[in-house]
Amino acid sequence: MLTFVLRRTLQALGVLLAVSAAAFALFYAAPADPARAACGPRCDSGQIAAVRQSMGLDQPLLTQYTEYLAGVVAGRDINDVDGSAIHCAAPCLGYSYRLHQPVAEALADHLPVTLSLTAGALAVLLVLGLGTGFVSALRHGRRTDRLLSGFTLVGASVQIYFLGYLAQWWLVHSTGLLPLPSYTPPTEDPAAWAGGMLLPWLVLGFVNSAVFARLSRSQLLETMNEEYVRTARAKGLGRLRAHLKYTSRGAAGPLVQLLGLEAGALLGGAVISETVFGLNGVGRFAAQAVSGQDLPAVVGAVLLAACFVVLFVALADLAVAWLDPRIRLGR
């Protein structure tokens, strides 16, 4: 198991390194003038020259990249537009010349909102997806199965920027059943936190549960016919207990992997959901950085999101290896 963990970690680090290089090349080399893009349309030529020097744009691209990487590992000193020196601490993802703040700091401010949103949505996704998948598989081919399949297909086809507003209009503005979506730190007032996030959790969980429900249905159906499950049933174990004990473990591998992908995608794809529900998380921050052409902030947000994807996919792989010895032993 230890060698598997080590190998998987190294692989994840390699991917992250390549992702950072690609992001760097894409955003620092592609725009016609990165200094102008980083500083903004209202900067005068003197300020742009200061940014150009601070970003090290007069040096070769490779040097710029290695300095950026060194900043991520050890932190670095950066000059702001007015020439004042600022220390950008260890995971330094660059400096936002618009916000006059290190990008990592700005991201950290917005992260709790996105984490809350994702955690709750994942819980809803898991309950809803597994529930419908399990019931569908048990009632395979009957009316309930077809009804649930239709339900999940609608979930897979509806867009969050439509359903989210519709739900807000109906549940918040028309009937007042739920409070307006908002973020309260759970350490201050847990009830207000859960109340304010409930609607986003439900909508986001439902929309994303469709793929999970479909996969869990087909996985469960497949494992139900495996011989070890049939043996357990033949030996007199009840239907539900047999499925819970044997089927679910056998079917779990691909589901865990999908869950990892969904978690990464939810964290990385919070742009739309946060815009729809007016939550000020990392996604909203990234969208504002794009529209305000805040280049370093955009790169930082993209890298953070990529980290989440890589991290959760790797975690899912580890969980699968732990569940299924065939994988960690290299088959």
Binding site: V15, A18, S157, Y161, V271, T275, G283, V290, S291, V309
Partner: protein
Amino acid sequence: MAALDTVAVTGPVPGPAEPSLLRRVVHDRVGAAALAVVLLFLLLALAAPLIAALYGKNPVEHYGQNTPGLLSDGGVPMLPNGGISGEFWFGLEPGLGRDVLTQLLYGIRTSLLIAFAAAGVTTALGVLAGVAVGYLGGIADRLFGFLANVLLAFPTLLLLLAISPVIQSRLVDPNAAEPDWMQFLVLVLVFSAFGWIPLALSLRATVRSLRERDFVQSARAQGASRFHVVVRELLPNVRSQLLVHATMAVPAFVASEAALSFLGVGVTEPVPDWGRMISRGSEVFRSDPTYLVFPGVALLLFVLAFNLLGDAVRDALDPRRAR
């Protein structure tokens, strides 16, 4: 099971007794309905100018502002439910006062043009990469695996959001007005850059297993060129996978395009677009959700129909299903 698989997959030419794909899709009631809705949308897109002419409106004119009595001073339609009337069947856009029905009709064209182009490009790229890498194996295969891992680690929507302005700044002179086709081109490029990977990955796996099959081995033993093996032996056997991918890719790209336009980096004014309509609708939905509901429901129907059609195609092509 294995025997069934072999029979169904190795036959490169369908036997004479096998019913056509279309017939098999239509045989399923849901598939038939989905196909009908998809065709209806295509027809509406093609006939948009004709319908607009008969109906007497166009998607760009500000009817509400030019004709007094349609919009209030605040830009809200005077009639209830978004100003639906015998004159404006689906109501008026709040603020500018454009006709909703023609905006929706022309919006189909925007979505479909981009989605079809992106689906075509990604399918072609996916086939090229997947078949080549799967057939060659070795170092090319390793490199591709790593590349796919890297590209898949990027958060798709955020990247699309971030990269569209960058590409735009490269292709378009900032001082000149951007032509419509350039916007379309940028979006298709951005979607194509990442959309080909899933297809390539699944084709790679298929081709890898096909490569070892008897019919491929015997073709090679008889001295067939690589080109022959790929084009005549391998490609016919991944046809169904391609078709399913292409059908499923269209609704995915329609949704992504609408999402980008919703966030304000997709198609810009005055080209009609569903995502931008929803974005405008989201500003006024608290008092009257009509302008949000029309493009939202249209998008839902459209994506749902395409997804159902994709399911039906997949089922019809699945050799394990009893026909």
